[in-house]
């Protein structure tokens, strides 16, 4: 009976961690500009951090061949010819961690030309940690009963 109660408790805790709104400290939106140089097969600023609501301007400069920049989750992109600068502007209204990647075939490692955009907290990362901790506490608190060895 007691173990069922604790199981229910762990499941409830897991649901809260997985789906409850993530607590965020309100920060006044700003306009942020990033200059990113793209060359085979990396972005010079490969990790960008902004706050939710910020207006983001990404100035993409290609240093060798034609490169692009596509932001997962936001589904927006730009392309820049060699030596040119193109600007992508958007409001970062979706919190979380997103990859941005080259969307113009630029060479062998093109599919892996990737950067990271963090908008506020990495929500799913923290949720995952919370869920993992709950799972581990559950296992440590209620270990599988060992098979007892008995002498006959």
């Amino acid at each position: 009976m007691q173990s069922r109660f604790f199981l229910l408790l762990f499941v409830m805790a897991g649901l809260v961690v997985a789906f409850a709104p993530f607590p965020v400290r309100p920060i006044a939106p700003q306009e942020r500009t990033f200059r990113i140089e793209a060359g085979q097969f990396a972005y010079s600023s490969s990790e960008i951090k902004v706050n939710p609501g910020d207006t983001v301007n990404i100035q993409l400069v290609s240093t060798d061949v034609v490169h692009g920049l596509y932001v997962d989750g936001y589904d927006i992109s730009i392309e820049a010819d060699p030596g040119q600068t193109k600007t992508l502007s958007f409001v970062a209204d979706k919190p979380g961690s997103f990859r941005f990647r080259c969307n113009v075939t630029c060479g062998a490692m093109h599919p892996f030309m990737i950067g990271k955009l963090s908008v506020g907290k990495k929500v799913w990362f923290y949720r995952s940690i919370g869920l993992s901790i709950i799972a581990i506490i559950g296992f440590l608190k209620f270990p599988r009963r060992p098979v007892l060895i008995t002498a006959h």
Binding site: F41, A42, Y43, S46, E47, Y70, D72, G73, D75, G96, S97, F98, R99, R101, N103, T105, A108, M109, H110, P111, F112, M113, I114, G115, K116, K122, W124, F125, R127, S128, I129, L131, S132, A135, I136, F139, L140, P143, R144, P146, V147, L148, I149, T150, A151
Partner: protein, 470 residues
């Protein structure tokens, strides 16, 4: 639940013709992939070989085939076929009693999966080139085909599949988690069975089913011995059964069944083999390294992994091998040896020793099998969903010759389902952690130590993977 009780399934599995039809399609596809790699467009993301092998096939393998069908891929893999046909001197018939080629036994000291560990690592170290360069993919696939043929000429049965295939090694490891198995129905039938035709082949042991009473399976006369060098009567886990279905056809007593079972049933009895333990570390470590190098934002790592032969690549290779052979297993050993304590007593009252021997170490690594599988699922989700739209373009123009067979040659690249990617990866990784913790508890019970250090190890590695992917 015995699936072979279903008449249509049983007749399909017993029929050589239905299997041959699948094999021919697969073999033609395999040869076409090799050709596409060698003569198709050099642009990897538009080449049929790259797109179909490393996106489509890989997605099917790691997201569906291995978790749900175990060695289901091995059952239809075309790589051993030409060699096996040459070895037997026939496509459908069993071999003559007299071997056509050298027919040697595989050397005893190599009867383990160390060669498969090495072959996988070789591919893994060159994976950035392999995954992106069509002619390298074509050459590697052709080399695997010719290696399988060569080994079939020298050694008996499917030596390549059993001991050398870089893919077969990890499929075998993870097939233990699958909810499907091939097993005998009644052990006693195998014990008294004359000549063990399922292992030796019906023609080799001179079995004539017409003379047996009661009359037995009519197919048995045409059956041949297990190509995977496994005696089905001794099967206790999926690792080395290639699901070729030959024993189902050969068994004169109809004593072989395909069963549905709970997930990871094989892991209840942990393996004590070090080669299998290191396979678990190789797979776990490779998934983590790939997540960091291929999907991470660090361009220097990608450069190092791609520029084979440079000093950066040698540093990358050294770190790769150090993580797999020293850091991951060393940390695992440290965890279980520092905190290992017995919770049970020997039947005669003596406490069980504190030391962590090879047996305990290998047994406890069983917990890393579901964890590694789910690491690969999480990694592959990201890679596959991002690049799946390349499949449409390469289907219409597989050789890059300007064709537009299905009107999709100009399909625009677009990542798929990116909004559900993070939740799906969370589900896979946290689910894998729970699955591993459960497996760790079973394995720890078997070797009579605490499961806590293994669970904590799984937790820490999961955190690292979460950090790399999310």
């Amino acid at each position: 639940m015995e699936l072979t009780r279903l008449p249509f399934l049983k007749s399909a599995l017993k029929s050589r013709y239905s299997q041959l039809a699948v094999f021919i399609v697969m073999l033609v596809g395999y040869i076409f992939v090799i050709l596409a790699g060698l003569i198709g467009t050099p642009v990897g993301s538009h080449n049929f070989s790259i797109v179909f092998v490393w996106i489509a096939w890989w997605a099917i393998l790691i997201l569906v085939a291995v978790p749900f069908f175990g060695r289901g891929w091995c059952a239809v893999c075309p790589i051993p076929l030409p060699g096996e046909w040459l070895q037997r001197g026939a496509v459908l018939n069993p071999p003559d009693k007299k071997p056509r080629w050298l027919n040697l036994r595989w050397p005893k000291f190599l009867r383990n999966i160390w060669l498969q560990n090495i072959s996988f690592l070789l591919l893994a170290l060159f994976s950035s080139v392999l995954l992106t360069t069509p002619n390298i993919t074509g050459i590697v696939l052709a080399a695997m085909l010719f290696a399988a043929i060569g080994l079939s000429m020298i050694f008996e049965r499917r030596a390549f599949c059993r001991y050398l295939c870089p893919v077969g090694g990890f499929i075998g490891l993870y097939s233990q988690t699958a909810p499907i198995e091939l097993r005998i129905k009644d052990k006693q039938v195998c014990v008294v069975c004359d000549g063990k035709p399922c292992y030796n082949g019906a023609s080799t042991v001179g079995l004539d089913v017409q003379r047996l009473n009661p009359p037995l399976s009519a197919n048995s006369n045409t059956g041949y011995g297990c190509p995977w060098d496994v005696f089905p009567g001794g099967l206790t886990k999926n690792t080395y059964c290639g699901l070729c279905m030959e024993c189902i056809r050969t068994c004169p007593h109809d004593n072989i069944a395909i069963n549905l079972r709970p997930f990871s049933a094989d892991l209840a009895k942990p393996s004590t083999r070090l080669d299998e333990a290191f396979k678990a570390f190789i797979m776990l470590g490779s998934a983590m390294i790939y997540a960091g190098v291929l999907l991470g934002p660090w361009g220097a790592f990608k450069d190092a992994a791609y520029n084979v032969g440079t000093s950066a690549w040698f540093i990358y290779a050294t770190i790769f091998l150090a993580i797999i052979f020293a850091i991951l297993p060393g940390f695992f050993w440290l965890m279980i040896s520092l905190t290992s304590r017995p919770f049970a007593k020997h039947p005669f009252g003596a406490p069980i020793g504190r030391g962590v021997g090879v047996r305990k170490f290998a047994s406890l690594t069983t917990a890393l099998i579901p964890l590694g599988l789910m690491f690969w699922v999480a990694f592959s989700l990201s890679f596959v969903l991002t690049n799946a739209t390349y499949i449409l373009a390469s289907l219409s123009d597989p050789l890059g010759l300007g064709w537009n067979l299905f009107g999709t040659a100009n399909a625009v690249w677009q990542p798929m389902l990116t909004s559900i990617l993070a939740p799906a990866q969370t589900l896979a990784l946290v689910g894998g952690l729970i699955w591993s913790a459960r497996t760790a508890q079973k394995a720890a019970n078997e070797v009579k130590v605490s499961s806590v250090p293994v669970v904590i190890y799984c937790f820490i590695t999961t955190l690292v993977m979460l950090g790399l992917l999310l």
